[in-house]
């Protein structure tokens, strides 16, 4: 009997569509190698989606990807059931009726998917997610999510919420589960800020680098979010919670390039805000260089708490040697004292992130069982 994995796919953006492509392209490989067939039984976007217990064909999946690419609404395929919300969809999916595990894939950036994930876990539907928002929501909501997993038989996999495709969370869990004591985690978790730090190190002006990053589409619509360090803070929060620290996002010490502001974004104001920093930063960096230090955007996590922001670190250190948007995480533990455990590599990008999601999916399908 071939194994089956049924997938409820939420989100067909960068990560979601790449994942669907990777699965479609490797169907035969999975079948030959593992005797596994992956069927998409639901496709959900912001606007709702479609469900069919028998699964969607490759042609239908490609049509859905194409519609998304052209920014068109989803097509109601023949004999499929329209769904307005994720909660509604879960009402229709009864795991008992399927032979094989069901997994909900969350490739959205929506915080409310946390509630959907909880409902799924309670129905014994696995959850595999790239979406950090639910894990960086209030501690209470986070706790509910973790409990939903602990109390049931379904698994909650979120490797890609920190460092994209890099095996950071599974390494961390490996340390915690074997009784090691985490003394400190340091890391550069934001590609955008890594790019900026490298530029600064080369002697470029902040305003110039930020403009390039904006032009290349590396930043969010409101770049102050990146420069304040919110993305890195969410990832740091997930690391902290993974080692058992009870922490809220607003308790993280934020030392980004700009303060976190709630005022509406104005491109002009932002530009002058950044220009005002150019001189001061240039001076700081020259000074630091003389002491053999370089600017990095560092997250620090220990049992006391968490901070995120610009720091000057020794050039001859794992973090100091990092270049560009790459991510790095350095685990200093009781066992890894002198020589910390280091994981480094590309921390984002649809190909590697989707592959990370896929690895989690194969894991819940029982293909392999590390982590």
């Amino acid at each position: 009997m071939p194994k089956q994995l049924l997938v409820l796919q939420f989100g067909l953006g960068w990560v979601g569509s790449t994942l669907v492509e990777q699965i479609l392209q490797n169907q035969e490989f999975f079948h030959q190698r593992f005797g596994l067939r992956i069927h998409f039984v639901a496709l959900m976007r912001r606007q709702g989606g479609i469900y069919r217990a028998e699964g969607f064909s490759e042609a239908e999946m490609r049509r859905a990807l194409e519609a998304k690419r052209q920014n068109k609404p989803i097509t109601l395929e023949p004999k499929s059931t329209p769904m307005m919300t994720g909660r509604e969809l879960l009402g229709f999916v009864s795991p008992e009726k399927f032979s094989g595990p069901i997994a909900l894939v969350d490739a959205t950036g929506a915080e409310e998917l946390g509630r959907v994930a909880v409902a799924a876990l309670r129905k014994n539907i696995h959850v595999v997610t790239a979406n950090k928002r639910p894990f960086a929501a209030s501690y209470e909501d986070y706790q509910e999510l973790i409990q939903a997993q602990d109390e049931g038989n379904a698994r909650l996999m979120h490797e890609t919420t920190v460092g994209g495709g890099l095996p950071i969370l599974r390494a961390l869990r490996g340390l915690v589960y074997t009784g090691d004591e985490i003394e400190e985690i340091q890391g550069c978790l934001s590609g955008t800020n890594g790019f900026i730090c490298s530029g600064l190190e080369q002697g470029r002006l902040l305003s110039e680098i930020v403009q390039e990053a904006q032009e290349k589409g590396y930043t969010e619509a409101d770049p102050r979010q990146d420069l304040a360090g919110w993305d890195a803070a969410r990832k740091a929060l997930i690391l902290a919670r993974t080692i058992g620290v009870k922490l809220e996002l607003n308790q993280i010490e934020m030392k980004g390039f700009v303060p976190s502001e709630k005022t509406p974004y104005s491109a002009e104001k932002f530009r002058s805000q950044i220009r005002a920093l150019d001189k001061m930063l240039a001076e700081q960096i020259t000074q630091a260089k003389q002491n053999g230090a370089v600017p990095r955007f560092v997250a620090r996590v220990n049992s006391e708490g968490c901070s995120v922001g610009l720091q000057y670190v020794e050039r001859e250190s794992p973090i100091g040697r990092l270049t560009g948007p790459e991510n790095i995480v350095v685990f200093k533990t009781k066992r890894y004292q002198k020589n910390p455990l280091v994981i480094q590599g590309p921390g984002a990008g649809p190909e590697v992130t989707a592959a990370g999601v896929l690895r989690d999916l194969l894991s819940v399908a029982g293909i392999y069982t590390d982590s």
């Binding site: 609404p73 097509t75 109601l76 329209p82």
Partner: protein, 414 residues
């Protein structure tokens, strides 16, 4: 002695404390010398809880027809009995009735039944005994005696029907808002309360999404010329009167701006362009009592055309299913649906006589860079479908453009 029908919504009867408050209101009317009939909705979240309970057993419990209605009807029955107790505690003599006991007869379309008749005798008998009669809203029974429900907003419909059948002096609908406003005050803080609306205006405002009362309730009141007063449950302030206009001409071109975000746009692409194909889709939708709006058909290419329309979110799945069935024999027809849409409407008795209004509305949208995707009009309203995330902006812009915050509010002539 004049009969007054009062209706209290779910949030007005949510807790014993609320019920006591309401009982005092009722007692006051009674002391003023009126015969009082009270219609209640289910308490607080009761109906949603019942639906969730049913969904644990059946993903689409409406498919269970009369059982679904029998379940939902319990929410109002519970509230009615509790209301009667609260009145007895107030020292009044009171009796509760479910829809069928009150004499409400409906057709057999479950969860969307329409009232086909009302036998006033059992209520009249109790009123004659000096009792306050509490009726469970939202429900009736069909000719086989099976319990039916009237759909969302059904308790308002019950109240209007009882007021009509009993020849009431007025129908008072108590809410947690003070009445109709020129716009939803949550969207437009400077929105002004409307003291008086004609039946037509109120009906149109209600049907384009002002969630104050149900258009079917207003329609009944209009037919039987029963004035409706929208009042606040816990405030003595004057609300909105809905009644026949005494004015010769409409002084206000526009009375209100409303955004309805609970809609879904359905598009049927590549329909063979033959006479009768539209009927193919809309006849089954009508049979299922699904209201469609903003219907647009454009001839696209090679003798095929695209049809788009909007339905209420709560009807979307059923509507899509009906469309899917109708499309099956037509071959390569594509169906799309899009809930990221909202309908923004302006309503006013004077729209028909003020030709400039439509142009101004579109101009206002273009200034705000809001793209209009569909348009529909009636004598007294113009509706535009826009992206959902622009709906609030659209409402504010229109409210401001038409100066509704300054609308001279004529004194009530009640």
């Amino acid at each position: 002695m004049a009969v007054i029908v009062q209706k209290y919504g779910g949030s007005s009867v949510a807790t014993p404390k609320h019920l006591k408050n309401v009982a005092q209101r009722v007692a006051q009317r009674k002391r003023e010398g009126h015969d009082v009939v009270v219609v209640v909705s289910a308490r607080g979240e009761t109906t949603d809880e019942l639906i969730e309970l049913a969904q644990e057993l059946l993903p689409e419990p409406t498919a269970a027809g009369s059982e679904y209605d029998a379940l939902l009807a319990t929410g109002e029955k519970e509230a009615a009995a509790l209301m009667a107790m609260a009145l007895i505690a107030e020292g009044l003599s009171a009796i509760s009735m479910n829809g069928a006991q009150a004499g409400i007869l409906t057709d057999s379309i479950h969860s969307k039944a329409r009232i086909s008749g009302f036998d006033a005798r059992s209520i009249q008998k109790e009123l004659a005994r000096g009792k306050v009669v509490i009726v469970a809203g939202f429900q009736g029974a069909d000719s086989n005696g099976r319990i039916t429900t009237l759909g969302r907003g059904g308790s308002d419909i019950t109240a209007a029907a009882l007021a009509a059948g009993l020849g009431a002096a007025r129908c008072e609908i108590f809410k947690d808002v003070l009445g109709f406003y020129t716009a939803d005050p949550r969207q437009v803080p400077e929105a002004a309360k409307l003291h008086e609306l004609t039946y037509d205006e109120a009906m149109e405002l209600a049907s384009v999404g002002a969630a104050i009362t149900h258009p079917r309730a207003i329609e009944i009141a209009r037919r039987y010329k029963i004035p409706i007063a929208i009042l606040h449950t816990f405030s003595e302030a004057e609300g909105t009167w809905i009644k026949e206009s005494l004015l010769m001409e409409n002084v206000h071109a526009i009375r209100g701006v409303v955004a309805d975000k609970n809609i879904v746009k359905i598009s049927i692409l590549g329909v063979p362009d033959k006479p009768g194909v539209a009927a193919n889709f809309f006849v089954p939708l009508g049979k299922a009592r699904i209201k469609t709006d903003m219907i647009v058909q454009n001839i696209s290419h090679e003798g095929r055309s695209d049809i788009s329309f909007v339905v209420a979110q709560s009807d979307a799945r059923e509507a899509l299913r009906a469309v899917q069935q109708a499309a099956a024999p037509l071959g390569s027809v594509e169906i799309q649906f899009d809930p990221e849409i909202a309908k923004v409407s302006i309503v006013g008795g004077g729209i028909a006589s003020h030709a400039e209004v439509a142009g101004e509305m579109f101009e206002c949208f273009s200034k705000e860079k809001i793209n209009i995707e569909m348009i529909s009009t009636s004598e007294i309203k113009i509706s535009c479908a826009v992206r959902k995330q622009q709906a609030d902006q659209a409402v504010r812009a229109l409210h401001n453009h038409f100066g509704l915050q300054n609308q001279k509010l004529e004194a009530s002539r009640a």
